[in-house]
């Protein structure tokens, strides 16, 4: 209804002297030197388009927004789409929180418009189309790995529909991400990889890293602060962490050239803003930056107040006299400790043998004095039969009763287990969630071609509002007016974090495929050739077939038969 109202409001706007719907493109690179000596680079490309794909509004003229995605949005009535491809696991304890978390493998979650009648069929079709667009195995998403989380994945854009019947969530933990996924992703950018920050995205360097993640997020956002009309936002993000030992040859010194084997010479001409941010919060004790910039920017990122040096690529003087920008970050000392992430989680399979096992999920709250609730989402394939009565949640040796549990049991070969829990994590504690399972015996055609590799169980998702570290230092020494610092401001007091645990690799009881194969092949051959022909010989009676008599003879025989004379 809101959309319809927005539509009516938007129509006169289209009749303005500039009938062209406004679109806008921004690009941005954030570089964060990590305490481990590694370096984290995060690209974000944002395309904003004031248009409406819905309600039969046929959009045919595309400028900055990629047409392939626009058509997907309108054909499948997508309200929100989030897809990520990740190779590697984000090491929260070494690297801190990422700007955009993603689980290893592929993750896809989509909110459909409430006008969609058959969500499952649309979802199936959508995954197949996306599979083609991103050159990935998303077509392996089916009902056995799709869930409808009730609380963990809320829409990130505007809109007030939160009926989780219109939400679909699936992960493919085994998906391997490589250049063939990067190329279609780069093609969605207005400048491609020809100009702007995207020239840095060379696959030979991006895949020579510790962590690589690329994502596409589409959501409706407000056009202005009154929010009368909506526009569509497409965010393409790419996160990469380069390793100190492998890529950096062990030297704590990074430059754009060392990271990407390219330097920057220009911004994307289509971009309205093109900036590089370097996180220099720990400067100058830790590292020096060249060329130096006077532009500084402060922002609240993940609950912490960070300072960034900003390089504006739309300004010519950024590139200096050599007309190329090669940022250099050099560590001075390796002292100093990283601020410990307040929330992190890990997961493993306990036990031995191929009959039963136990999944342990550990959630750490490192906050010294505040407890906070987290939402845990577990989606376990049907072939691990969870014994849900063995579910225990303990923290500090005591039973910790979840305040909300949503459990959907699995159906063999149809749908996975879905377990969502709201758990309160006590301060400075480890909360352990354990549940026992039994490994199912699959049918022999259900095994993958490499059954002895094991079967994957996707990451658990932990979503939470974590108290921010800024709110943590109550006795702030920062230069802040006293009147601003007594009551914690709500916006700054907590921030949203999503943490993914590692996926699991579980071995199922696997028959020795070599033996049955030999036996089946051999017996079939023996039966077919030996026994079959012998049986044939023994049971068939052989008769000499008379050549068929001519027509005259047959007529003669009929007459002879009528007369009672033996035939010829």
């Amino acid at each position: 209804k809101q959309n319809a109202a927005a539509q009516k409001q938007a129509e006169p706007a289209v009749l303005q002297p500039t009938p062209q719907p406004k679109d806008d493109f921004q690009e941005e690179l954030v570089v964060r030197p990590l305490h481990s000596g590694d370096i984290y680079a995060s690209f974000q490309f944002r395309t904003l388009w004031e248009t409406d794909f819905m309600r039969g509004n046929k959009v045919s003229h595309y400028r900055l927004f990629p047409k392939s995605l626009g058509q997907v949005i309108s054909k499948f009535s997508v309200r929100e789409l989030h897809i990520s491809f990740t190779q590697g696991y984000w090491r929260t304890m070494q690297w801190g929180q990422p700007y955009l978390p993603s689980p290893p493998g592929a993750e896809l979650w989509v909110w459909f418009q409430d006008s969609v009648t058959d969500v499952d069929a649309t979802w199936k079709e959508l995954t197949n189309v996306l599979s083609g667009i991103f050159c990935a195995s998303l077509n392996f998403i089916d009902s056995t790995n799709t869930v409808q989380p009730s609380a963990s994945f809320k829409p990130l854009g505007i809109g007030n529909v939160t009926d989780h019947r219109f939400l679909r969530y699936a992960t493919l933990p085994r998906e391997i991400v490589c250049t063939e996924n990067l190329t279609p992703w780069k093609k969605l950018l207005p400048c491609g990889s020809k100009a702007g920050l995207a020239v840095l995205l060379k696959s030979e360097k991006l895949f020579h890293s510790s962590f690589h993640s690329q994502a596409v997020h589409i959501r409706p956002v407000c056009q202005d602060w009154q929010c009368k009309t909506t526009s569509w936002e497409l965010r393409q993000t790419l996160n990469v962490v380069f390793d100190l030992h492998n890529s950096g040859q062990g030297k704590r010194e990074w430059s754009l050239f060392k990271m990407f084997s390219r330097t920057l010479t220009e911004a994307c001409p289509l971009a309205s803003s093109s900036k590089i941010y370097i996180d220099i919060t720990d400067n100058p004790e830790q590292f020096e930056l060249s060329p130096a910039t006077s532009l500084l920017s402060q922002a609240m990122v993940l609950g912490d107040r960070r300072t960034f040096s900003v390089y504006d690529l739309t300004q010519q003087d950024t590139f200096g006299s050599v007309r190329s920008l090669n940022l250099l970050i050099r560590w001075k000392s390796t002292e100093g400790d990283m601020l410990r992430p307040l929330l992190h989680a890990e997961r493993y399979v306990a036990g031995y043998g191929l009959q039963t096992g136990e999944i342990h999920t550990l959630m750490y709250n490192h906050h010294p004095y505040r407890s906070f609730p987290v939402l845990l989402l577990d989606s376990v394939p049907w072939y691990l039969r969870l014994y849900i009565h063995t579910l225990t949640v303990t923290s500090k040796g005591k039973d910790n009763k979840p305040s909300y549990i949503h459990y959907q049991p699995s159906k063999d070969r149809v749908r996975p287990h879905l377990l969502e829990m709201l758990v309160q994590l006590p301060p400075n504690s480890v909360t352990e969630v354990t549940v026992q399972f039994e490994r199912a015996l699959l049918k022999w055609t259900e095994y993958t071609p490499d059954p002895n590799h094991g079967f994957y169980v996707g990451s658990s998702v932990i979503s939470s509002l974590v108290p921010s570290t800024v709110a943590m230092d109550t006795n702030s020494t920062r230069e802040r007016p006293l009147f601003s610092s007594f009551f914690p401001c709500k916006e700054e007091s907590s921030y949203f974090v999503r943490v993914y645990t590692e996926p699991l690799l579980v071995n199922l009881p696997t028959p020795d495929f070599s033996m049955p194969y030999n036996v089946i092949c051999l017996t079939c051959t023996v039966v077919a050739v030996g026994y079959g022909s012998l049986y044939n010989l023994l049971t068939r009676s052989f008769q000499i077939e008379e050549p068929s008599p001519g027509l005259a003879k047959r007529i003669a025989n009929v007459i002879r038969k009528m007369r009672g004379v033996p035939p010829l």
Partner: protein
């Protein structure tokens, strides 16, 4: 493979090795943590403590407290689902310093490579097997032996394969592969093949059971050499104890082997770089595996490193032995089924046709109770024994075990006292039938799990079971039956094993060795969950007692 072709790396390794020659073991935990961290690993420690049921006099330990240190090399762009383990035990004294040094050197080299697809865990375990047990239990969050350990902080997913490295001397002339694990489990044969292939490629002398392979198969001496090597493997497997740190991995379905550098006083010497290249090659091969090692043999005996005897060849030998029991049982069954010949008076012996359940059940129950006593009493009564006799705890346990065992021999008389009537001719037949079938099932199951143990037990128990009746000469038969009892089998095995190892011992030394083997067997059960001691005490010994009972049937 360019391991240590870089002179800087080589110098670093040599520095490390020389520094390690200083007696640092007894686990310099902080130093190890710092060194591993400097090499770019994620380092974690695990504390554990264990009080042994009685003091281990071989290794001189009773209340064990230690710390395992392990560093995880995270594979780039891998989701922490698979891992490989390289471990080196760090024992007090400077026994294994070379191995720890090599492990750290390899960690440094491996860290700079980009081809890893699986996390590699470098583990330095304290107190060899106990530390390894604690680490594995912590990693898989199980507790089978009641050990105290602190939970692990970092993991690398499911472990695909593991190698344990032991370099006992500064001079290494050949590399020895140890395969026998807990309860006679063996790793996949492909792991042995991998080791052999790489030794051949690099040109390192490789041995199994400390014996070099010979090429003269057709000659008598070559053949007997191979048989000797295989018999050593049979004896080691039958003992059911882990013969290296790898032995404990096998329970978790992780293919593992121990590689030992040994000094066999040959001219040819192998330096640490060569061993490093060997390990690098093996790890790269294991790293490339998509699936776990499978579709190769898990049941095999090795007469040399390049040959193996598959289950299809050795199982019939055991099968033929077991068939004797079944035929004997069939014979008895037929005898029992045919009605007894009527005497000339025409009166059938009525008593004989109904032996009664009690006459069979009583010996069964009593012999099993004796077995249970043999299993429980030695540990329970050690304190009492120490108070009353001038012996140490270990001696108390072993001597109590022997005493209970011998006391069991007096059973037949006690059994009969419990029985109301006289034992009948039919009675011992039924009892023997039961005992024969019991033994056949017992040996069959044992041979499936641990062929060597089943075979050795069958060799001694089957003849005893076949011949024994109440009608054979008592004294001679009793002597033969005692000689063929499980305890004497163990005694002979000790001497035979020493003979095979070309280290013959005098009778007195052999006896002392025998006592220590018993204590080790009991310890293996309580520390690592070895099943040989309970198997012998609770099943094999009672079964043998049944035959003893038949011999003294009245």
């Amino acid at each position: 493979m360019g391991l240590l072709s870089d002179p800087n790396r080589r110098r670093a390794l040599i520095n490390l090795l020389t520094r390690l020659n200083a007696p640092i073991c007894g686990m310099p935990v902080e130093w190890l943590v710092k060194t591993m961290q400097a090499r770019g690993l994620e380092v974690y420690t695990q504390r554990f403590s264990r009080t042994l049921p009685f003091p281990d006099e071989n290794k001189e330990r009773y209340m064990v407290k230690g710390t395992n240190v392990y560093g995880i090399l995270r594979a780039p762009r891998a989701p922490r689902t698979e891992a490989l383990v390289l471990s080196a035990p760090c024992t007090p004294g400077d026994n294994n310093n070379q191995a720890v040094g090599l492990l750290l050197g390899l960690a440094q080299y491996f860290r700079n490579q980009i081809y890893w697809a699986k996390d590699i865990i470098f583990l330095v375990n304290d107190h060899d097997l106990i530390g390894m047990q604690a680490w594995l239990e912590g990693y898989h969050h199980t507790n089978t032996t009641g050990m105290d350990w602190s939970p692990l902080q970092g993991r690398g997913g499911s472990i695909q394969a593991a190698l344990s490295l032991e370099l006992s001397s500064d001079v290494v002339t050949s590399m020895d592969l140890v395969l026998e694990g807990l309860n006679g489990q063996l790793p996949n044969l492909d792991l042995a093949n991998l080791f052999y292939a790489f030794c051949q490629k690099i040109g390192v002398l490789c041995t199994i059971q400390g014996k070099l392979q010979r090429n003269d198969w057709d000659s008598v001496s070559g053949y007997s050499h191979a048989v000797q090597t295989m018999m050593l493997m049979v004896m080691k497997q039958a003992s059911g104890r882990p013969w290296g740190d790898h032995g404990l991995f096998l329970r978790y379905h992780i293919e593992a082997a121990t590689i030992k550098g040994i000094n066999s006083f040959r001219q040819y010497k192998t330096d640490a770089t060569t061993i490093g290249r060997l390990l690098e090659g093996m790890y790269r091969k294991l790293n490339n595996l998509l699936e776990r090692l499978h579709q190769s043999y898990f049941f095999y005996l090795m007469p040399s490193l390049s040959h193996f005897v598959s289950i299809g060849y050795y199982m019939p030998a055991f099968g033929l032995l077991a068939v004797i029991l079944l035929l004997r049982a069939l014979d008895l069954w037929v005898q029992l089924a045919t009605p007894p010949p009527t005497t000339e008076d025409g009166i059938a012996d009525i008593e004989q046709s109904s032996p009664g359940v009690l006459s069979v059940l009583t010996p069964l129950v009593i012999s099993h109770l004796t077995g249970a006593a043999l299993y429980m009493l030695p540990i329970r009564f050690q304190e009492m024994a120490v108070e009353h006799f001038p012996v140490s705890e270990t001696e108390a346990v072993v001597l109590t075990a022997i005493a209970v065992y011998t006391a069991g021999l007096a059973l037949p008389h006690n059994t009969h006292r419990l029985l109301s009537g006289e034992g009948t001719e039919q009675g011992w037949r039924v009892l023997k039938l039961v005992a024969l079938l019991y033994l056949a099932v017992l040996l069959g199951c044992t041979a499936l799990i641990n062929f060597s143990l089943g075979f050795i037990l069958a060799l001694t128990l089957v003849p005893a079971a076949a011949f024994v009746t109440p009608h054979v000469p008592k004294v001679l038969s009793a002597f033969v039956l005692v000689i063929l009892s499980p305890a004497c089998t163990l005694l002979f095995s000790v001497f035979f094993f020493q003979e095979l190892q070309e280290m013959p011992v005098s009778f007195l030394d052999g006896w002392l060795l025998y006592l220590s083997v018993i204590s080790q067997g009991i310890l293996d059960h309580f520390l690592y969950g070895s099943l040989v001691y309970p198997l012998i005490a609770l099943l094999v010994y009672p079964c043998w007692l049944l035959f003893w009972n038949i011999l003294f049937w009245k």
